[in-house]
């Protein structure tokens, strides 16, 4: 029985060994697909094994040694995934890096990791590496996947993936014992060897290199496979940054341990089409992706004909009423059940097909809180979307929502083999087989994060609810107090704001201040579509953001958030008193967001200091000039006069009033 074997929690301990095992027992099953020239090209496990072996032997001929670090830079491509395992097979450690990071960021990571080799996607990355020769003195050879534009470069220390792989094949042809020697080379590899180094995107300070062992990854992956009954028949779409732990686990660790197929999209712009064609059975996306999909559908429905819209509205009402109950296996009366079936035929089915989620068995969202409305929308369609809570340091999994136990405001129960506790200061701590080995060249940080007996500080403040589910409130260090002593949890407020489709990003201020003030970014897709329907003309984000009607619309959202906050005893004191809409979109290129699109609060506070001042000095408008960085490192500036609006707070809920008196 192949299926049950691959989904068992035990098995080979390193990925090269798992590869050999898969090539043997799943040899003819498709392991990787990539859309190229408009056609899905595929490789079976035994073909992948041959590809990796040839490349690995080619790498060895370059003089790669055990312990060397190999940078992997590029978008999701089979060859880049293979290079990671090829490097592991010769004892080297792959270091996947965010390919869209600006040169300075990347140089720091590569220099810190002391990479000797780099496998990159194309000319863009080669040029980037060339420009950072000072910061990365250890770099010896660079291997690229795509030849284009590189023909005239000097190839002494630059190699094409293909040429290196061909060299590996030639060497094997000359020496027939080479494949066996290659296998013997990693046969002695142990589970506690370092498998990969991933740099955390670093909401604060410089990124840290998280060292994960084969055991960390393989055990966590196998546990997750068992938890969600994943086997070699699954299909996933690999489209999230390869340097992110999530992708590493879903598209490599879990794929190898379960033996399922990883599909690489044609380009970053074709993901929607590619997903529709593949229809993944196991799908992971940050909340942002689900939000975008929903926004698209809603925008298109606005433009649809009357009949279609009426049908959509009617059946979505049915879905909201009974969809989740049916998914959770609860009792629903016969009439609704029949209507839901009809809805599946007429609305939900086509909708899921449109989103490419028809075959989805399990879907996860994590990284940030997802809007309850959005979450419910997908679940009511019958999609088993769940939340998880994880970290790079934990090899992803800390808590997971078990099937049938889905609550919008909690992130689930501890994953298999994970122990969870809340420290005295409210910080969530965990211990699991996935706990990282340590931070590379940073023992101080390792000691600060990981206790001697293996507990890890998450840095998040949370509570364990009565039903055993974990609820995350905020970053432990971000939770602060207003001057009047009221609790101020910025992320809590920001998430409430971001649940409105019109608001893309929010940054709240208030710690050690008299009141809460907020920066907002509008969502250009949602507000742009609204503008089109209401004949509002605009030329740029900046112009739309400053439009009085947009301000009024956003004001009503902020008011709604205040009303919600006023009902919660803990939060009622931290209602939003003033807000402004920023004149530019927060952007990772300007350092305002991390590469995983999380807000870098302290950086923004610095950069927009004049605006914060204006929030608190009572002025109605403020003129600002902001420097922006283009992707190639050049700088420009935008200027604007930003309007600031005052908000009337709501009277706190009755319970709270009594408690206060």
């Amino acid at each position: 029985m192949v299926g049950s074997a691959s989904a068992s929690p035990r098995g080979e301990d390193t990925f090269p060994k798992i590869l050999l095992h898969n090539a043997k027992v799943l040899g003819t099953r498709t392991a990787f697909r990539e859309k190229d020239f408009g056609i899905w090209q595929s490789w079976t496990w035994s073909e992948v094994c041959e590809e990796i072996r040839a490349f690995s032997i080619g790498l060895k001929s370059l003089g790669i040694e055990a312990g060397d670090k190999v940078a992997i830079v590029g978008s999701n491509r089979p060859r880049l995934y293979w290079s990671m395992v090829a490097a592991q097979a010769v004892g080297a450690v792959p270091v996947p890096v965010y390919s869209d990071s600006v040169a300075e960021e990347m140089a720091y990571v590569l220099g810190h990791a002391e990479v000797k080799f780099a496998v990159v996607e194309d000319q863009e990355q080669v040029d980037k590496l060339l420009s950072m020769s000072e910061e990365v003195p250890t770099l010896k050879d660079v291997i690229y996947d795509e030849m284009r534009g590189l023909r005239d470069y000097d190839h002494t220390h630059l190699h094409s993936y293909e040429s290196l792989q061909n060299k590996g094949r030639e060497l094997q042809a000359q020496n027939s014992s080479l494949p066996r020697e290659w296998e013997e080379g990693f046969a002695g590899g142990k589970g506690d060897d370092v498998a990969v180094m991933l740099y955390t995107s670093g909401t604060t300070g410089r990124p840290k290199g998280v060292m994960l062992s084969f055991d960390n990854l393989a055990v966590s992956a196998r546990n997750a496979n068992v938890f969600d009954h994943l086997d070699e028949t699954e299909e996933v779409l690999a489209y999230l940054p390869m340097a992110w732990i999530g992708d590493h686990v879903f598209s490599l660790a879990q794929a190898f341990t379960a033996g399922y197929c990883v599909n690489c999209p044609e380009s970053m712009d074709t993901i929607d089409v590619d997903r529709r064609e593949i229809a993944p059975t196991y799908f992971f996306a940050p909340p942002r992706v689900f939000e975008m999909l929903l926004t698209h559908i809603m925008v298109q429905m606005e433009d649809a004909g009357k009949t279609k819209r009426a049908m959509f509205d009617y059946f979505m009402k049915i879905a909201r009423k009974v969809g989740e109950k049916i998914l959770n296996g609860e009792d629903v009366d016969a009439k609704d059940r029949i209507l839901y079936r009809l809805g599946e035929l007429l609305v939900y089915g086509p909708l899921k097909n449109r989103m490419g989620l028809t075959r989805m068995k399990v879907g996860y969202t994590a990284g940030e809180a997802i809007g309850p409305e959005i979450f419910r929308f997908y679940r009511s369609l019958g999609l088993n979307l769940k939340q998880l809570y994880g970290q790079t340091e934990a090899s992803v999994y800390i808590t997971l929502q078990p099937d049938g136990e889905i609550f919008g405001d909690t992130v689930g129960k501890p994953a298999p083999d994970v122990e969870l506790k809340i420290a005295d200061n409210g910080e969530v701590m965990y211990r699991s087989p996935g706990v990282f080995v340590g931070y590379f060249k940073n023992d101080e940080a390792t000691e600060k994060t990981k206790t001697a007996d293996g507990w890890v500080h998450t840095g998040d403040a949370g509570i364990i609810a009565e039903n055993g589910h974990l609820k995350i409130i905020d970053r432990a260090k971000d939770v602060g107090k207003l001057n009047d002593g009221a609790l101020f949890a910025p992320k809590y407020i920001e998430n409430k704001l971001k649940f409105f489709p019109n608001i893309k990003e929010a940054v709240a201020f208030g710690h050690e201040r008299d009141m809460v003030g907020v920066f907002l970014n509008i969502d250009l897709t949602a507000v742009g579509s609204w503008a089109e329907r209401n004949n509002v003309n605009y030329a740029s984000y900046q112009e739309l953001a400053a439009h009085p009607d947009v301000y009024s619309m956003v004001e009503s959202h902020v008011d709604q958030v205040n009303r919600d906050l006023s009902r919660e005893p803990m939060m009622a004191g931290a209602q939003i008193r003033r807000f402004l809409i920023l004149h530019k979109e927060l952007d990772a290129d300007d350092g305002e967001l991390t590469r995983t699109q999380k807000v870098r609060r302290s950086f923004i506070a610095d950069r927009y200091a004049p605006l914060i001042e204006a929030l608190y000095d009572g002025s109605k408008t403020k003129h600002v000039r902001t420097e922006v960085t283009f992707e190639d490192g050049r700088k420009g500036a935008i200027e604007a006069t930003v309007e600031i609006r005052d908000m009337e707070p709501h009277v706190p809920g009755k319970d709270y009033q009594e408690a206060a008196e």
Binding site: D36, F37, G38, I39, L129, L130, S133, E134, V136, P137, T138, L139, K140, D141, V142, R148, G149, R151, D152, Y153, D154, T156, H157, L158, E266, S267, D269, T270, V273, F630, D632
Partner: protein
Amino acid sequence: MNAFATDMTAAPDGVSETAHREELLRVDNVSLSFGGVKAITDISFDILKGEIRAIIGPNGAGKTSMLNVINGFYHPQEGTITWRGKERRKMKPYEAASQGIARTFQNVALFKGMTTLDNIMSGRSLKMHRSFFWQVIWRGPAEREEIEHRRKVEDIIDFLEIQAIRKTPVGRLPYGLQKRVELGRALAMEPDLLLLDEPMAGMNLEEKEDMSRFILDVNQEFGTTIALIEHDMGVVMDLSDRVVVLDYGKKIADGPPEEVQANQNVIDAYLGVSH
């Protein structure tokens, strides 16, 4: 500096090579007039195989007319054009096309209602050999031929990174992308000489950078000779091997970019000195 970078700086220098290149096209003493208006007066220059040749000049200098002469749309009253060593008689644009000259236009000239794929496919029509009859039947050889062409077109789509708009009608695309599709259609002809009429007009900085990259890559990967008209001097100086400057239909300078840039006639023409 690491070993990887030191060696890289020794990459061969492209400009000095032009000296040994053979001539692809030569224009001798060409004059063109419309009624009494002289568009081009006595212009001579050559285009070498494998180079990027820029034609610049102020508005109305006769640049587009020059391109139209090269691809056979206009017939000059005087002078000769030598294409691949053979002097060329009156030639129609489609004859020029079948002999390996492709072009893009100042104002995008695509089939707006057709998809990107079909637009680029239309660039292959000169390479289709099966008769109309076979193409209608679409079996056997015609089918095989179409698959072969589709493969070529997919190469171009991949090259220009327009996979995401493969099936989008071009009328719905933003201007910058339409320009890229137009370049794709010209490339589908696998031309020896590619004429680009203001490939970057109306583009923003990022689109210009992309387009420059594509032009360089086309030149390098396919070895296509390129003659381009462009107003953005930064682009011209960076891309081209040699520049010919026109003003009021006359040639006022010809040479490598840095030389042309320093030429007093050119500076006068651009800054406007009374004639």
